[in-house]
């Protein structure tokens, strides 16, 4: 009896070895190293220089806002996914990125609950009520910001004095000053035109936490272009459109505008490199992306020069998000169809 058992065992072992079963699947059987989490965390990393500058520039309150925004976004995503019994995917970094981008687009001294409410709107309403990553129509971070701007207009437009460069004191953003007091006053505040350009390029100005340092955002954006995570035409077309249009339509007649100022002011740089290039909510073809960037640039200028708000990036991108499916439909990929239909 015992012998039989042992031979049975042996046989079983033998047959297991003989009939090793491999997994089968449809080809291809090789895949690139790219993954969603790699893309998302790379974007987060490229945002870090500008973020750290924001913290140095605006102080520890800014750090608090950033942490609250990013971490609450992660928590909200985990909670909503648990609630609707989906796999929890917070590790892919997309929620963290949304929360971080949202917080970077907030003034540095907003009440602590604002980034939390914003993250809730961004993650739960703008992203997961649409079906989660890949299905949302609008850029979640911008939806969050738009809701905050409409609901807490005062808090969202109260700018603190700069802590570092006290000599260029102002309690408003450059775009605010331009809108309310005019261009000469703006120059006066910075000392000279050259001073203004340098300060804005480096980031020594008032504004949202992450949007001020043009050079650091450009650096991060360039890394993303190099890594091929974003298409260079989008930021180039969008920023160029804003530059050209603001240059032509200045307050003192045709060609009296200051395109350099407008290209560096407000959230244009962060918007053009990090929001208008959001994969999910922008067109999939290059042609479509150019149209998207062009449209976003035009709407931004319309709002800045003619609208009631000093800044218009957020709404410009959201409006273009809404026509993205249309652009994709009108501009199909296939240029030449291989066969006559």
């Amino acid at each position: 009896m015992r012998e039989e058992v042992s031979t049975n065992l042996e046989l079983e072992e033998l047959s297991r070895e003989e009939s090793q079963i491999f997994e089968i699947s449809s080809s291809p059987h090789m895949h690139s190293d790219d993954s969603i989490s790699k893309i998302m965390w790379t974007v987060v990393l490229t945002l870090m220089p500008a973020t750290i500058f924001g913290v140095c520039h605006f102080g520890l309150t800014a750090l608090k806002i950033l942490l609250l925004g990013a971490l609450s976004a992660v928590l909200f995503e985990a909670a909503i996914q648990k609630l609707v019994k989906k796999t929890i995917t917070v590790a892919d970094g997309s929620a963290f990125l949304t929360g971080l981008l949202l917080a970077m687009c907030l003034p540095p001294k907003v009440p602590f609950f604002l980034p939390i409410v914003g993250s809730f709107v961004a993650i739960v309403i703008a992203k997961h009520s649409m079906g989660g990553l890949g299905y949302n129509i609008f850029n979640p971070a911008h939806i969050g910001r738009a809701v905050l701007l409409l609901s807490w207009p005062v808090a969202m437009t109260t700018w603190t004095t700069m802590d570092i460069r006290v000599d260029t004191i102002s309690s408003a953003t450059p775009l605010n000053i331009l809108k309310q007091q005019g261009y000469p006053h703006l120059i006066e505040l910075f000392g000279s035109r050259a001073n203004m350009y340098t300060d804005m390029f480096l980031g020594f100005r008032n504004g949202c936490i992450g949007e001020t340092s043009v050079i650091l955002l450009l650096f991060g954006g360039t890394v993303l272009i190099y890594k091929k995570y974003i298409d260079w035409v989008v930021p180039v077309v969008m920023i160029a459109t804003v530059g050209i249009l603001t240059g032509i339509f200045g307050s003192g007649g045709v060609l009296s505008g200051d395109p350099v100022f407008h290209m560096m002011a407000g959230g244009l740089i962060i918007g053009a490199f990090f929001m208008a290039t959001d994969m999910v909510t922008t067109p999939i073809t290059r042609g479509g992306r150019i149209i998207f960037a062009l449209g976003a640039g035009i709407i931004t200028v319309l709002i800045r020069l003619l609208g009631g708000y000093p800044e218009g990036i957020c709404y410009a991108i959201l409006l273009m998000n809404s026509v993205t499916p249309l652009i994709d439909k009108l501009l199909p990929v296939t240029k030449e169809i291989l066969h006559a239909k």
Partner: protein, 443 residues
């Protein structure tokens, strides 16, 4: 500038260094071969031997009178021990002739001739190729005699010898060009004569510098133009290489002969040379055995019907349990569930891929990054094709997004950061389209 775009295709890690410099090695005779009667596109051949019959190497053991089919020969000498259904690397199960080798490897008489092919008439050459059971050896295994005898109304003006070998890991065509250069040249001459074309192109990817050099040394520039094409997957796909070399487009469902082109793999040219000059039927082929899970990667000359397990054992077995066992290349090859399948005429590679090679994780929703759109060589929108096909919207995929143009090269699935099974969905939708068409036909 393919399809009006500079950007198309992908650059996967080639992994070719593992075997590119290893000369072709003869594998020992297997104790037993399992030869499926269907190793080609078309009707299965019917066995003409029965259990207990003694057969010699190269003896015809199955044939067919169907218009599209191919002969099958014994690859060893010995005894037919069984004719039954066995696991098959493409069709799942297939009727196979199992021959136990006597170890003597006695060749049938008709297979040992030496003739001057120039003395043969075209119809004789054609008969020889047909009888030798030669099929396209790049992987698709389309019977060669049909390709080489196009209908009268199709005017063939160009012959393309496909030596791109764009699939990662595989080094079969590379080694063949280096070691069998003269036979390649003769094979090309034979095909050229048969089709009576003057225009011959040999497309070789420019990473095979040594092969390009050797081929240029041996083959006269007037008889064939050797073109170094860019190393890029899928440059060796039939439609792509035609477009790349001749700027002609083959519509879906059409054949290269519809645009006046015949494409033959470089290995097929060697097989044709062997059959015509020496009377050897297609009973062995070169196989690259590679992948991170294989102990000693090799280029092997293997008898048709040798089981994968024998081949892998000859290469030192598995170093680690493979995540996937593939017949062919990793991009378009077919995953095998068992090592009990045998080498068939279209087996260009046997790959044991490790988890790291495969890198497949659970798929998630499309994030519309557009990588697939950028690399699709057929200028499609794989993102939308994948989404529509997944939900079974085959008509929309076909009418609005040119589903049938897809050549299933796998670039989209390779680059997809969400690891979506785009090609799998496309195949599913294509099947739905075919089923619908069949239904319509029945009504």
């Amino acid at each position: 500038m393919l399809f009006g775009r500079v950007k198309w295709g992908i650059h996967p890690k080639t992994h070719k260094t593992a075997t590119a410099n290893k000369p072709i090695e003869n594998m020992e005779l297997p104790r037993q071969v399992i030869i499926p009667v269907r190793m080609h596109i078309g009707a299965p051949a019917e066995p003409i031997v029965k259990k207990g019959d003694k057969v010699k190497t190269g003896q015809l053991i199955a044939n067919s009178s169907a218009p599209v089919s191919s002969n099958v020969h014994s690859s060893v000498s010995g005894t037919v021990v069984d004719i039954s259904d066995k696991p098959h690397s493409i069709y799942g199960q297939c009727l196979s002739i199992i021959i136990e080798s006597d170890g003597l490897d006695q060749w049938a008489e008709e297979t040992s001739v030496q003739r001057d092919w120039k003395m043969l008439r075209n119809d004789q050459v054609f008969e020889i190729i047909k009888n030798a059971g030669i099929v396209g050896m790049g992987g698709a295994a389309f019977p060669s005699h049909i390709k080489l005898c196009p209908p009268k109304d199709k005017k063939i003006d160009t012959l393309i010898i496909n030596a791109a070998e764009c699939e990662p890991f595989l080094t079969v065509d590379h080694r063949i060009m280096l070691e069998y250069t003269l036979r390649v040249a003769t094979g090309i001459e034979i095909i050229k004569n048969l089709l009576s074309v003057e225009n011959v192109f040999i497309g070789i990817e420019d990473n095979k510098v040594d092969a390009i050099k050797v081929m240029r040394d041996v083959i006269d520039e007037n008889s064939a133009k050797i073109v170094a094409i860019t190393t890029k997957y899928p440059h060796g796909a039939e439609k792509i290489i035609i477009k790349s070399l001749l700027n002609r487009e083959v519509a879906p469902g059409k054949l290269p002969m519809d645009v006046g082109v015949v494409v033959q793999n470089v290995s097929t040219a060697v097989a044709i040379c062997d059959a015509v000059v020496r009377g050897t039927p297609l009973i062995e082929r070169i196989v690259t055995v590679s992948g991170s899970a294989i102990n000693i990667p090799k280029n092997l000359k293997v008898r048709i019907g040798t089981t994968f397990s024998d081949v892998i054992k000859f290469c030192g077995g598995f170093k680690q349990t493979p995540e996937k066992l593939i017949m062919g290349g990793p991009m378009m090859g077919i995953a095998q569930y068992t090592t009990e399948v045998s080498v068939i005429k279209g087996t260009s590679g046997i790959l044991g891929l490790s988890k790291k090679d495969v890198n497949q994780v659970d798929q998630s929703a499309c994030i519309r990054c557009g990588k697939c759109v950028n690399c699709c060589p057929m200028n499609l929108n794989p993102s939308m094709l994948g989404i529509l096909s997944e939900k079974g919207f085959a008509d929309e995929a076909k009418n609005d997004y040119n589903l049938l143009d897809c050549i299933e090269c796998g670039c989209c699935s390779y680059v997809c950061p969400a690891k979506r099974h785009i090609v799998q969905y496309v195949r599913y939708a294509k099947r739905l389209v075919a089923e619908k068409a069949a239904e319509k036909g029945n009504k």
